[in-house]
Structures are given as C-alpha cells and as structure tokens.
Symmetry: C2
Subunit: 296 residues, 2 copies
C-alpha cells in the first residue's frame, strides 16, 4: 500500500479534471463557466431542469431533475469530476418538479434534518453529503475569483460620508443578527432602519421599501438610503455567497435609494458590465466595502 500523495500532488491531479458546475437559475452559472474555461480548466455543466438557462448547453452538459442525487453523482463521476461547484438559484421548487431517485430517498433523513432550522445547517448538511460521495465542494469564487465584488466603487458614483455612515450601521446590524442565521440584507436611510431581510429575499424587501416611500411612511427624501448586503457570519461560503446583479440595481432604483454596498471579496456580481451601466444610468453607487470588523 502506498502512502496517500502529498496535498500538492492531489490538487494538481484535481486541477486536470473538469469542474462539475451544478447550474441553477440565473446568469451566474454561465458567468462562472466562462471564467473557469478562461482560466484553462474544463467544465461539465450539470444543469437543473426547470431552473438552468438553456444557454448552458454551449458547454459539455447533462440535464438532471431536482431530487436526483444518484444520477448527479453518477454523471459527475463518469465525467471525471472531483471538484463540484453549485451556483444559481433554486427558488421555490414546486413539489411536482422534484424527481426522487433511490440515492436521494436513502439520503432523505439527512436532507430532512438539514432542511430544519435555517439555511446554514441546510447548506453544510448538503455539503457533507457531497464529501461522503467522494466530491470536493468548492465555492464559485474559488474557481472564478473575478466574479467577486472588488474593494472599490463599480461605475461612476461613490457613496457620500453620510451614506458611508449608513453602510457602516447596516453592516453592524447585519453582524448583530448573524447568530440567528438570518439577514443578508438591510436598508438604512439617514440612520433609520427601513427594512431587514429575512425569508422574503432582497427583491421583495426592496419592493416593500418602494411601497413605504409611495405611501409617505418613510421620512427621508427619495434618493437617500442604502441597500447593504453581507454574508452571514456562519455562512458556508462554498455555495451561498450573497450576489447582486442588474435586477438588484433596478430594484434599488425603484426603492428610491442612493446606492448599494456589498462586502468586497465575499459577494458575487452577476453581469458586472450591465450592473455598472445601469448604476451609472440611474445615478446610483455600487460599492464593495470591507466587512463589519474593519468598517469604521
């Protein structure tokens, strides 16, 4: 029996194999695949039927239904993948779209346990399942670092001193609720907390702010206030970084805010060119900032 190879050798071997990208909805899966291919590695896209954009078919791909862990593992093994990245949304899966296979049925007790009690445990539970089947679950940012927000303003506009104070306050608020496995986003205007995100998601929260403004229930004038998104402290960054995209910028504009801030190096920016163009058009800032610990 030979000793296991040193870590570098294993990494090099994994580096030659294609990366399996489990693709949910939205534009991020293609952005990640493009970046991985530009870096010189191969990809195999495991596209979730009903969510993944058919445009992923431009790369080697297989379609899988939600609930087919057995098929997923077989396809990934057959393609020679060891590193797996999950990226994209699987929001609101209707039960009718789920197609259980036997591997999934056997995993159900673990999945049910993982589903109880908040996102963090769900995600780390699912990660453990992949590890047990011989895969290494990586974060999209580990294979495609250029998809992360830079520590600077994207586009022409930058936050004012007052907006920087709101950003710092929002980061502190999000850090305070992090232990409760909730709250990747909040809206603050002139020091006043307008909204905190829980199960509804960022777009819904921004619609609420827009409605409160229309009804005159927000005292600060239109064009003030910031959306701040930050990863939860306990978040498993391998497959649940917060993300923003063109839709986020549009929602921020409709909510009458001055801009949005994300944690640099810990937030995925989908379609950064469109994000910059829209932010400039709307006169909004989009900025990457340091996390709470080092924020003023």
């Amino acid at each position: 029996m030979s000793p296991p190879p040193p870590p570098q050798a294993r990494d090099a071997a994994a580096g030659e194999a294609p990366i399996g990208i489990i693709a949910g909805g939205g534009s991020l899966p293609l952005a990640v695949a493009d970046a991985v291919v530009r870096s010189g590695r191969g990809v195999v896209i495991l596209a979730v039927r009903g969510w993944a954009d058919p445009a992923v078919e431009r790369y080697p791909h297989r379609w899988v239904a939600l609930g087919q862990f057995g098929r997923l593992f077989r396809l990934a093994h057959a393609a020679g993948c060891r590193d797996i990245v999950f990226i994209g949304t699987l929001a609101r899966p209707p039960i009718s779209r789920i197609r259980l296979d036997w591997t999934t049925v056997r995993l159900l007790p673990r999945l049910v346990r993982a589903f109880r009690g908040g996102d963090d445990r769900l995600l780390s539970g699912v990660a453990d399942i992949f590890e047990d089947h011989g895969f290494r679950l990586l974060g999209a940012h580990e294979v495609a670092p250029e998809i992360l927000a830079p520590p600077s303003a994207l586009g022409r506009h930058a936050p004012s001193e007052r907006e920087r104070a709101d950003i710092a306050r929002a980061l502190a608020l999000l850090a305070a609720i992090g232990p409760f496995d909730v709250g990747q986003a909040a809206v603050i205007a002139d020091g006043h907390v307008l909204a905190i995100e829980a199960a509804e998601g960022t777009d819904r929260m921004l619609e609420r702010v827009a409605a409160l403004r229309r009804e005159g229930r927000v005292h600060s004038r239109p064009g003030t206030g910031v959306l701040v998104k930050a990863p939860k402290p306990a978040q498993d960054r391998r497959f649940d970084l917060p993300s923003i995209g063109p839709q986020t910028v549009e929602s921020v504009a409709r909510a009458g805010l001055a801009g949005l801030a994300v944690v640099a190096g810990a937030t995925i920016v989908a379609e950064p060119d469109r994000v910059v163009r829209l932010a400039d058009e709307h006169g909004l800032f989009v900025v990457g900032v340091p996390p709470h610990e080092t924020a003023r």
Copy 2:
C-alpha cells in the same frame, strides 16, 4: 419666596387634577380613559382630529388638529392638567391634515431634529418639549396599569416547549437589534427566522408571512411559528409601548402561526376580552412572558 413643596405634596396636587389624554386612533385611548376614571381621577381628552374615535366625546374633550402644539398646551393648561398621556396611533399623517400654529412653527427646528434618525429620538425629543411647557408626560400604563399584558396566557391555549424555544430565540433576536432603534417584532418558526419588522409595522410583516406561506416559501407547516413583540431596549416607555389587539390576533391567524408572545408588563393589550375570544376561536395562544434578560 417659599421653598418648592416636597415631592409627595406635588404628586398629591397633580393627583387631584384631571389627566390630559392626547388621543390618536384606535381603541386604546378610550380603554385608558375608562381605566383612569375607574381609578377615581378625572380625564380631559385632547382628541386628534382625523385619528381619534368620535366615541371619546363621552368624556370631557377638545378636538385639536395635528400640528397645533400651541392650542394643545393652552387647552391642557386651561383644563388644569399637569399630567399628560399620549396614546393611540398617528400612522401616516397626510401633510394636508397638518395645521401648524405659531408654537409649532417655533418648535419646528426641534421637531425636525427629533424626526431624523429613528423613533427613539423622535419620542424623547417630543417628551422634552412637553416638559419644557410645564407638563409631565406619563405612560398610559402608569395611569392605567390594567391595560398591560399579564405574565401568563390569555385565553385557553399555551405555547408548547418548542414554541417556548422559538419565543426565547425571538426575544434574543429583538434584543440584538435593539441598539439599532428598530425591531419591535419578529416571526420565528421551528428556529427559522421568517420575518423581522422594521418600518413596515407588525400587520404588514404578518401579511408577508402569510404570502410566503401561500407561495410555499416557508418550510414549516401551517400552525407553527410565533409572533413575538418586545419593547426596544432604549424605548421611552412613557408613550411608545408595543401594543396588541384583536387585529393582531386575526393577522397571526392569517399568517398560519401557532400564537403570539409579548413582554408581560411592557405591552398594552387593547380590548383584552375580544383578544381572548378570538385567540380561543382560532386555537391560538396569546402569552405574556418575561423579557429577554430572564428568559430561558
């Protein structure tokens, strides 16, 4: 010149004078007036036009428009009031309903400062204005202690062990965001935070939970989860205690929750008889619990 009377003498003198009740909307102003009168003190209701229930006219009363601090102070002085209680809602005042008088205009800089930056500063700023004009602002619970939630279940139902754990978690969450001058309420189901209230108010937050449930975006089954309301740590309890009433119970039922918990002795219960009847009808618990510090 005689020395000022000792505090007891001053309190006794104030005790003889009628209590001025500035009445906003809802059923609480009348409940407070009834309780004060039952305790043997007189009342003069300063009813805010457009908000106060015309039923307040059963007591000595004067109508005032929003924005008329001068008129309010004159009427209260003329009625011999020294103690003032503010109670009831003034939600979403349309600008067209505000009638400024000169006293208010002179107070505008202080009011604008108070309006900036969250409820807490607004409330204490307004309290200071009353003190400067010779009044003592009391909390409704100080003149009518029976309107507060008791440290026990109202009605037939009581929370289970699991629901008590959700209540404790919600109280801890609300305590964590208290320093940000936000968040009197949250909804937690099976440890999972479904919603946190900011500027939208409790009813809106509960509508959101009901919508998330309808759309299948909440994993816990209907009939689970708790609404928890707590005063903010920095809250000026003289005129901003959280309150619940029949409407709250109806909204909790529509959101598919198991019940609601409030901090005993620090939450006003409007129309407790109807609250109990509705809770029993819907099979919900309504319970007063100790504040976070002493909660398990």
